[in-house]
Symmetry: C2
Subunit: 354 residues, 2 copies
């Protein structure tokens, strides 16, 4: 950490004093950047994930072009199910489609226990290479899907509106669900530990589908396993960020599960949530991603509202409340980052003065 | 109201004493019923909406077959945009697809001010016919989309994942957005007034897409117009139910806007919300619709949790937290209704004793 030229992001995650609020953008290495699309034209999505040189190149692009305060390794949460033996195609129009979704106990038997160092070596190589190429400019974030979110994809087999298959499974065969979630928790923890070992300075757990569950079911099928992952990840001082989209109802419990930082979607009130749990965790977020469709004045107004809502002092990592959309003008992403850098200084004056 | 043989639903909406908790199911007149599919085979969805005899028949089916305590008129929220001149096709696979989505000020000029008594006479006829055929067995609910939800459909033109078009519009041309939302508020209020005039005993406003907005934007673009609709609807004692899916953050404000009943989705905690606003409004909901994929024991357990969460006394209308799914076994819907009827009695004993 001492070798980093810009460690604002890590300091904010630990609620240590900062001169300004750090900012990064979920899906910042993505289709909205022409430089990304140029690489994507030559290689499909999976090939990009599996080729460390390409993954490193697109991971670093937003640091150079957009000016973010952290890089996040280019990859996909579904590399874990794939390494466990579940093949899928990534279709431009429909997202991932698994060849054989997980539906019964026989399907479970065919799941392979993974060794990240061999089965997911390509990700670890990408992390190490990116770390070298970043050369301490900003920290590097590693990530994984939560066990529940991976399980949802594995059971549904493709994008879903009502998540009927995974809900049928948890209601009618909870034993099998818990068995697979347990397996996934070990896999996710080992994988995140290996990413830290390879050089990641922080990790984020994406619980994209936690919000489709009722509160009781969230505790039983998602939170329990997020908690297990956090307790098993081998780390020194690397913070853990948990982003549970739509989970407005269990933020205190996520803090109790050991998260250092909680990511908020744009429907949540940053200031209210700081009052409730800001003493225990840092908060990340939470601009509506569609605000980047607006002009610079509007973006500035909305950024100011969020900074004001959090208020003075450290413990806030600026981000969108969900991933950046593929048709956003990159100039607007640059504006966002610059505006956060300018407007946030005054909320850290006590620190600058001290 | 005095002519109703079963007015439990209306009494619960007004928090008047009841012997047991009333229950109905959003989308109860729908594809999960073989009796519905039999009619649907002979007529397309729009024809069913526009033919009072067919609309009345499917509206009454769940009263006869499932045993619900209220009927809700079979119709679609998009009849209003259609009457304003926006044509759409209803595709089985993709939902509604508008021929010309609303995108600029010229599109606004072509919107027609509607007269429900002529332009939507077929709905009013269906309400009147259903009322006659129900013959006082249970109350009849009329409904409409909220102005914001209708606007979202009109601008996106079809189903959407990120709602990019409508967000672009509110950020870049808020004047036009407010102009159309204002028009829609008048149309919705007039339409709901006409439905009450035709015999509806209660009305529900569906704000299906309120939850895609940040809290400030919800107040500006959705809540303001729900409030306008409620204040303009001509009614005597007919209660207004507002169901804003995903709007966990502004329930108190919806109560202040004049709703008599607030519908909750299944991610919300019924007991907590009763503590906060149960003194002012009744609450409707909120079983996860996918629980109907489970067996009867599981359904009973989940129903008991919800009844216990609300606790003793009136002011609770049992419902799902969203519409019933088309592949649910009708036997499970029947079980749900019977279980609510059985298990809820003990929460109203004080009343029975008095």
């Amino acid at each position: 950490m001492s070798l980093l030229k810009n460690d604002l992001f890590l300091r904010a995650c630990k609620k240590l004093p900062v001169e300004r609020t750090p900012v990064w953008i979920m899906r910042q290495a993505g289709r909205y950047l022409p430089e990304y699309r140029k690489i994507r034209e030559k290689a499909d999505f999976i090939t990009m994930c599996k080729t460390p040189e390409l993954a490193a190149a697109v991971t670093i692009q937003p640091v150079d072009i957009i000016g973010v305060d952290a890089a996040i390794i280019f990859s996909d949460i579904l590399v874990i199910p794939e390494a466990m033996g579940m093949k899928f195609d990534m279709l431009e129009s429909r997202g991932p489609v698994f060849h054989h979704p997980l539906r019964n106990s026989d399907d479970v038997k065919s799941l392979k226990k993974i060794e990240p160092e061999t089965d997911l070596k390509y990700v670890l190589d990408a992390v190490a290479l990116t770390k070298r190429e970043l050369d301490g400019r900003v920290p590097l974030i590693g990530f994984a899907g939560s066990p529940w979110t991976l399980f949802t994809y594995m059971v549904e087999g493709k994008g879903s509106k009502n998540f009927s298959e995974v809900k049928k499974l948890i209601f009618n065969n909870p034993f099998m669900a818990h068995q697979v979630l347990d397996l996934l928790s070990d896999a996710v923890a080992d994988y995140l530990s290996a990413k830290i070992e390879a050089g990641a300075n922080a990790i984020q757990i994406f619980d994209t589908w936690g919000g489709i569950l009722s509160q009781n079911n969230f505790e039983e099928f998602s939170l329990r396993y997020i908690s297990k992952v956090i307790s098993k990840v081998k780390r020194k001082e690397e913070p853990v960020i948990v982003f549970s989209k739509g989970v407005h109802f269990k933020l205190e419990e996520i803090a109790s599960a050991g998260a250092d930082v909680i990511g908020l979607d744009w429907t949540m009130d940053l200031g209210d949530i700081r009052k409730k749990i800001g003493g225990r965790v840092a908060l990340q977020g939470n601009l509506d991603p569609t605000v980047l469709y607006a002009n610079e004045d509007k973006i500035r107004n909305e950024v100011k509202k969020i900074l004001q809502s959090y208020g003075e002092g450290s413990g806030h990592v600026f981000n969108l409340g969900h991933g950046i959309l593929p048709d956003v003008d990159p100039e607007n992403a640059k504006s966002l980052v610059n505006i956060v850098k300018e407007e946030s200084k005054k909320y850290h004056l006590a620190n600058a003065a001290g």
